[in-house]
């Protein structure tokens, strides 16, 4: 077993990984920027190495600094966490070249799924249902029109290298197509230095449903059911639940089986998530995240499987501790992403946390690096805590969520707790009756 793991990340996910290591008897190395010297995971780690100034580019995205830190501390593996370098195939390959284990998939699978056009093509080949769209990149207006004639309107133009909604445009009809194409390409060029875009049918009101995969790279692959992440604002997930209130047992089993078959064909290793849009009973592949997801704890809550632990075991050559027949779904779980932002304006609110009190009791889990006196730095994303609640039924879970949110206190900075409190008591959410557009509509209505 690994003796020492370097955690190449920050915030709550770094703490999550630290905890898994501790529970496996593995020592931890925290790497951090000068802005994160007082972070909880840095304080708890066995060793810490400052790898650069606050700018992510010079610290958490600084490959030489991270590999050097692993070398000087003698770490035998690196966990990349979520975001930052977690889906950087070059990094994964370099880590392995330095004879350090990369806790994640094979670099070629990261590269494949990181290119949206290639990923979609691969998905088709692997037997995953895909949304009708262009076979590859679209450049000229004429090409775009030809493709549009095949797949129909409304349609979406997306950056091949994109993510987070940048380089993404909708054309409702043919007259909107030229401008949407030009804008998407411009945004893509600006954001990713790559103006390749592709087109696909735009679904009017789909849900975002993703399937959790776990594989040991030795032929054992299981799925752990789905997560419904349809509550999004500007393509960022806000609240997730598992199982999805929109799926029945037959659909769940079918999509799980499809996903597992595809991953077996691919020879995938580690954790991974296949994201789908779901509309009118049909799934459409969006993308695959070749890493741990922020929302993984809700899957842990309903399956009892510790995903980070399994991921570490698999990277170390171990085999999965569970088979598909061992995996049962028990109860319902919801995760609220708590951001250091004003709940209405979403203006970031970094600064000093004066008072901090987390909810406790049965069925409540908090993943957070916050503590009273900690200063949330202004340099990184605003996720400061995840509240995960588990209940026997969805109704129990919602009741528990409400009481947990009631107990949660973060003083000194603004947070999105008030938004979650409102959501938890909103009829459409309580009914499970929402799609990926619902939250933006809800927020717009609040403004009126």
């Amino acid at each position: 077993m690994f003796e020492k793991i370097l955690i190449a990340n920050r915030g709550e996910i770094a703490l999550r990984i630290h905890r898994a290591c501790r529970e496996m008897g593995i020592k931890t190395v925290a790497v951090h920027s000068t802005a994160d010297e007082e972070a909880m995971h840095v304080r708890l780690a066995d060793e810490s190495v400052c790898i650069g100034p606050p700018s992510s580019r010079e610290s958490y995205l600084n490959i030489p600094a991270i590999i050097s830190a692993a070398t000087i501390t003698g770490a035998d593996a690196i966990h990349p966490g979520v975001g930052f370098l977690s889906e950087n195939a070059t990094f994964a390959a370099m880590v392995e070249e330095h004879n350090i284990a990369f806790i994640g998939p094979k670099p070629e699978h990261i590269a494949l799924m990181g290119d949206k056009v290639a990923a979609k093509e691969a998905a088709r080949t692997l037997g995953l249902p895909v949304v009708p769209g262009s076979q590859g990149a679209v450049t000229t207006e004429n090409e775009a029109k030809a493709v549009a004639a095949e797949i129909g309107f409304p349609l979406l133009i997306k950056a091949a290298a994109g993510g987070g909604g940048r380089g993404m445009k909708i054309a409702q009809n043919e007259s909107e197509l030229p401008q949407a194409l030009a804008m998407a390409r411009n945004e893509a060029r600006a954001a990713f230095n790559n103006d390749q875009v592709y087109m696909e049918r735009y679904l009017a009101g789909p849900r975002h449903i993703e399937v959790q995969i776990l594989a040991d790279g030795q032929g054992n692959i299981v799925h752990l059911g789905e997560r419904d992440c349809s509550l999004q604002r500007r393509h960022q997930k806000v609240l997730e639940e598992a199982p999805s209130p929109a799926l029945n047992e037959t659909q769940r089993r079918a999509i799980g089986k499809t996903a597992v078959t595809a991953m077996k064909k691919l020879g995938y290793r580690s954790v991974g998530t296949i994201e789908f849009l779901f509309e009118d009973g049909e799934f459409y592949f969006i993308e695959m995240n070749t890493r741990l997801q922020v929302e993984h704890p809700i899957t842990e809550a309903i399956t009892g499987v510790d995903l980070v632990r399994e991921q570490i075991r698999a990277a170390d050559g171990g085999i999965l501790s569970v088979k598909q027949r061992d995996i049962t779904f028990s109860g319902h779980a919801i995760e609220c992403r708590i951001n250091a932002e004003h709940w209405r304006t979403f203006v970031p609110s970094p600064g000093k946390v004066r008072g901090y009190h987390v909810p406790g009791g049965m069925g409540v889990r908090v993943d957070s690096g916050l503590y009273a006196g900690y200063s949330v730095p202004p340099h990184y994303d605003s996720l400061i805590a995840k509240l995960i609640v588990h209940g026997i039924t969805r109704e129990d879970c919602l009741m528990r969520l409400r009481r947990a949110l009631e107990e949660y206190v973060v003083d000194g900075i603004e947070t999105t707790i008030p938004l979650h409190q409102r959501l938890a008591s909103t009829q459409a959410f309580m009914n499970g009756n929402y799609n990926i557009h619902w939250l933006e509509g809800y927020l717009a209505d609040l403004d009126d």
């Binding site: 790497v31 000068t34 802005a35 190495v49 400052c50 790898i51 650069g52 100034p53 606050p54 700018s55 580019r57 010079e58 610290s59 600084n62 490959i63 030489p64 600094a65 991270i66 590999i67 050097s68 830190a69 070398t71 000087i72 501390t73 330095h98 970094p350 600064g351 000093k352 004066r354 200063s375 949330v376 730095p377 202004p378 340099h379 003083d411 000194g412 900075i413």
Partner: protein
């Protein structure tokens, strides 16, 4: 007469820090006709880490000779003596060009700007660390072969 009101910024700042430390919302001190009152309501003090603009130079694979790193003297040196040279990267320190060779510099040496002080090895690449200024080496804080982190104090040149 009409002498100008003399604002003692230092004392105001000291009181502001005290306000923080004690969690008070108001402190007023008066003596011999001078009075300072500081207060802060409700609003949490904003962390004043400046939102550093991402430097233009990407920190990719390091060049063999490091540019004198302005950041290294700006950041992370709160506790350091003036003239401290800090490490611009994570790596292993070599004080001499080769094992057994004489050290680049010793305490008491006078160095010119740009003169190599140390080598920092990162990912098997040897990076010369040039002196950020001319001066005298008054202290060397690292040993040959020692691993260092970003911002760690290496030597003092005054």
């Amino acid at each position: 007469m009409g002498s100008k009101l003399d604002i003692d910024e230092k004392q105001v700042k000291r009181l502001a820090v005290l306000l923080d430390e004690t969690g008070l919302t108001e402190i007023e001190v008066e003596e011999a006709g001078r009075r300072i009152k500081v207060a802060r309501q409700g609003a949490p003090p904003i962390a004043h880490a400046p939102v550093a603009a991402a430097p233009a130079v990407p920190a990719a694979a390091p060049a063999n000779t490091l540019a004198p790193s302005p950041q290294s003297s700006q950041t992370n040196d709160q506790g350091n003596a003036p003239g401290t040279v800090t490490s611009p990267m994570v790596g292993t320190i070599y004080t001499a060009p080769d094992p057994g060779a004489a050290a680049f510099v010793s305490v008491g040496d006078t160095v010119s700007e740009g003169q190599t002080l140390l080598i920092i090895e990162a990912m098997k690449v040897m990076n010369n660390l040039p002196s950020p200024r001319a001066g005298k080496v008054t202290e060397i804080l690292v040993r040959d072969g020692q691993p260092v982190e970003y911002g760690e104090a290496l030597m003092v040149i005054v």
